[in-house]
């Protein structure tokens, strides 16, 4: 199968407008005849569900948690970008587009990114109309702040809880449709399999997590809005239940998985403290607006931070990148922190952290101004570390945060399976090899509010979809397979828990496929994953049954997926013999340690086709052409 990205013809500024005109429409009276299944209720899923129901489609929505409001978009802190240019500082659609393509290290699809920048302003308008309490200026207009990777202030925010407020906005729109009966909500469900019938996605099989029953739902299209796969590293800033299950299971049914090796390590997280730690907590990138990152100049300097005088401190980001300073993009900031720690200049009890210091900002603006901007983040830090960041510098360390890779989608957000769409972090499309701060919220909501309502109609209007009942043999077969897998997991009765395997896998992934990667390490990793997978299926410890709420069983199923998926991630990382964005191969770097891209050989999206567990996946390439932004080495100096 050849990849057709379906990028519309014409100048980049006109592509989306022309495409919206060219897409076939579904008659309003016919919309209610279509059944749309949406998996996941984060920004992408909730906004898509609400918008499609408003148009008149019948929508069924599924989520793992007890309520759709819990999806992990809720934890996004810093903000959402939009090319409003309210501050009059030179922003434009073109600049947001340019910054995003450059920030993604020229591995994103230009047409998609341009559309994202075009839509960005509408997201702010719609969210404000829904009652999202954005930060305001005294005159009542919206406030902005700056964020990494940009030299303009285009980030809208609601204190340090922007993701929460945007999600609650989308959730309220979703619940309004639930109240009207146009959306049916199915919480505490996990998608076990995708149903493909006559070449099109036609339904899903879910496990009811409370009763353990398998449930079949048929539909005319399926939207996966299930987030990223950062938890393959075990420790990440993701929520405990974030998983690769839905996208991986769809991949096994024929959806290509693109660029899995593009994973983002966020530079400002609370450092690891002990072996029982279950997650890492992000400290918003917005803190780098006012905080200065430093380490002692001398590795032997073990004084406490306030005793280290100015001349003995190395503000290494300001030194290495004078024009962007502390606001360099995430991948650059993370690697710089790693370099300091590798030099032995890390601080704190483990030596695995650097300082993020607010004393200058507090002196300049006063403690209350800092509290106003970041109060909840400072409190969160205080809760975790028992240290008061108003008095002593924060200690931070990079942690896995976001995954740019995901299911391959065309311009319409459709995967390689007709009728299967993928939105938000779960797809691969807009961020290339590195996502800029405050762009995830933008993309999730752009996909759900403003892209899918058009492109889904375009698909449904021309698709020939025979009636398919959820009691069709396809569904029974998938239910049986899912039940058998659960029985198999429960029958192993071994010695090691799913968490043990997850931790072990995560450690290997972090060591060999984390902030810096090399061929030797990746080959070593690739030899260990299949062994671990084999052992997992022989020695897993699990109790209880499949006919009840069994959280250990849920976890085991997700770890089983990670043990398959991790291999693809490592293979992708090994095959991409260049450094770009979040993918840093030690063999490919400039003399001063910056990432060295190879545009001759690797200017493409790598879309992998599943060929069986443990079998070599097939690589398909979508060439990326850059007509509007000139390929250049990223330079933040």
């Amino acid at each position: 199968m050849t990849l057709d990205s379906k990028i519309p013809a014409g100048p980049i500024q006109e592509k989306w407008d022309r495409h919206r005109f060219d897409l076939k429409l579904v008659n309003p009276a016919n919309k209610r005849k279509f059944e749309i299944l949406i998996v996941g209720t984060g920004l992408a899923g909730a906004s898509a569900a609400a918008s499609l129901a408003e148009l008149g489609y019948n929508v069924k929505v599924f989520c793992l948690q007890d309520s759709p409001r819990r999806a992990h978009s809720i934890a996004a802190q810093g903000g959402i970008n939009a090319a409003k240019n309210y501050p009059n500082d030179g922003d434009s659609i073109w600049r947001l587009f340019y910054d995003t393509v450059k920030g993604g290290d020229f591995r994103a699809r230009e047409a998609n990114v341009y559309r994202l920048a075009q839509i960005s302003s509408h997201i702010i308008d719609h969210s404000a109309a829904l009652g999202v309490p954005f930060a305001r200026e005294y005159g009542g207009t919206l406030a902005n702040r700056s964020f990494g990777g940009a030299q303009v202030s285009r980030t809208f925010y609601a204190r340090g809880q922007t993701g929460q407020q945007l999600l609650l906005g989308a959730y309220s729109a979703l619940m309004r449709q639930v109240g009207k009966g146009s959306v049916q909500m199915f919480p505490r469900r996990e998608m076990m399999d995708l149903i493909v019938s006559q070449g099109a996605a036609r339904g899903i099989v879910c496990r009811n997590l409370v009763t353990g029953e398998m449930e079949s739902y048929s539909g005319d299209a399926v939207l996966l809005c299930t987030g990223g796969y950062g938890n393959v590293f075990y420790l990440s800033t993701n929520a405990a239940s974030c998983n690769v299950g839905a996208t991986w299971r769809a991949h096994k049914k024929g959806a290509y998985f693109a660029n899995p090796c593009f994973t983002q390590i966020h530079p400002t997280c609370v450092p690891v403290s002990g072996s029982h730690q279950s997650k890492l907590t992000l400290m918003s990138e917005s803190l780098r607006n006012d905080g200065r990152v430093w380490v002692p100049k001398n590795p032997q300097d073990k004084r406490s931070p306030e005793q280290i005088p100015e001349e003995d401190r190395d503000y290494y980001l300001e030194r290495r990148y004078p024009s962007f300073g502390n606001l360099v993009p995430r991948d650059v900031a993370s690697r710089a922190a790693k370099a300091m720690i590798d030099e032995g200049r890390g601080v704190g009890p483990t030596g695995l952290s650097v300082y993020l210091d607010f004393s200058d900002a507090i002196k300049r603006a006063g403690e209350s101004a800092i509290r106003e901007k970041y109060g909840n983040l400072f409190d969160m830090y205080h809760h975790i570390t028992d240290e008061n960041p108003y008095r002593v510098p924060m200690r931070i360390y990079p942690a896995v945060h976001y995954t740019m890779g995901g299911l391959w989608v065309d311009y319409n957000l459709m995967t390689t399976i007709p009728g299967l769409f993928c939105l938000g972090e779960a797809n691969f499309s807009d961020h290339g090899a590195n996502r800029l701060g405050a762009s995830a919220l933008m993309q999730g909501l752009a996909d759900g509010y403003f892209v899918i309502p058009y492109t889904l109609g375009g698909y449904l209007a021309q698709a020939k979809l025979p009636k398919l009942s959820s009691s069709a043999p396809e569904f029974k077969e998938a239910e049986n397979l899912a039940s058998e897998k659960i029985k198999k997991l429960l029958s192993i009765k071994g010695k090691k828990t799913a968490s043990d395997y997850h931790k072990h896998l995560g450690k290997l992934m972090w060591d060999y496929c984390g902030m810096a990667r090399n061929a030797k390490g990746l080959k070593n990793l690739l030899s260990q994953i299949p062994e671990m997978r084999e052992e997992f299926w022989k020695n897993l410890a699990l109790t209880g049954s499949g006919e009840e709420l069994n959280q250990a069983l849920e976890k085991a199923g997700r770890v089983a997926d990670y043990l398959e998926f991790a291999e693809l991630l490592a293979k992708d990382a090994l095959h991409r013999e260049e450094s770009c964005g979040g993918h840093f191969r030690e063999e490919y770097q400039t003399p001063d340690g910056e990432a060295k891209r190879d545009d001759e050989k690797f200017s493409y999206a790598a879309a992998w086709e599943f060929k069986g567990v443990g079998r070599e996946p097939a690589l398909h390439k979508e060439p990326l052409s850059f007509e509007s932004v000139h390929l250049a080495q990223r330079n933040y100096q």
Partner: protein
């Protein structure tokens, strides 16, 4: 550190539950109470026993999924903290810690420490929104919101929907949760057109779900991990009065 945990175990909604005593060792002060339960669960699994079911997700105090009553306090005795943020340094080595689910008629127990809070979703579906379809919005700066009003609305909107207010209330009232949403939207100009219907419908749904009445105990405010103030309840009552008495609808 070493702890004795007395944990509520209950097979399912129909069965009888009770406290079971466990010992956990090797706990460090920076671990959270949920990570302590993780350690205990790993031990139980390795012994072939069924682990304790409890809800949690983001583990950084924002998703509202965790829902434990710890030594009698929803989310534990620390102020402005969710269960997942509660660190073991707040307990003494060797202490006994009693862990129960949130208890309220409207939050039936699903298993062990897991409860069903879908009543909250139904209350929101009854009116906790602004009716604006995608595509309808004017430019965001067409709707001016004074900074102090936006700040107050944000204070109320910070609610994470965990239900600790209900669990803390002797009447299992949901007033603080409902009041937070009513306040947030009543303060914003965007919420004004549906102000009356919203408060009437959300209140009616709240009663229908079996939540109790407010008796001014203020236990909700004390338990709220996001420090939502009871003054919002006064606002809810004013909004309600206004809607039923003054409204010309």
């Amino acid at each position: 550190m070493k702890f004795f945990l007395e944990v509520w175990r209950q097979k399912n909604a129909q069965s009888q539950g009770g406290l079971v005593r466990y010992e956990v060792v090797g706990i460090s002060p920076e671990m959270s109470i949920l990570e302590t339960l993780d350690v205990l669960n790993e031990q139980l699994l390795e012994k072939g026993e069924e682990p304790i079911a409890f809800d949690s997700d983001c583990r950084e105090g924002i998703c509202g999924m965790c829902s434990l009553v710890i030594n009698g306090y929803p989310h534990g005795p620390e102020k402005a903290s969710t269960s997942c943020e509660l660190r073991m340094r707040h307990f003494q080595d060797g202490q006994t810690i009693i862990i129960e689910p949130f208890r309220a008629k409207a939050f039936p127990i699903v298993r062990d420490l897991v409860v069903d809070r879908s009543a909250f979703d139904r209350v929101v579906a009854a009116g906790g929104f602004v009716s604006v379809n995608t595509g309808n919005a004017p430019d965001a700066n067409c709707i001016l919101v004074p900074k102090d009003v936006a700040d107050k609305a944000m204070d109320a909107a910070a609610c994470i929907g965990c239900g600790a207010c209900v669990a803390a209330c002797p009447n299992a009232a949901a007033m603080l949760f409902v009041a937070a949403k009513i306040s947030h939207l009543a303060l914003m100009p965007q919420g004004a057109p549906e102000r009356d219907a919203r408060v009437i419908n959300m209140r009616a749904q709240m009663d229908k779900e079996g939540f109790g009445h407010c008796a001014n105990e203020y236990a909700c405010e004390a338990a709220c991990p996001k420090e939502i103030k009871v003054s919002n309840i006064a606002k809810l009552n004013r909004e309600f009065l206004r809607a039923v008495v003054c409204s010309d609808k």
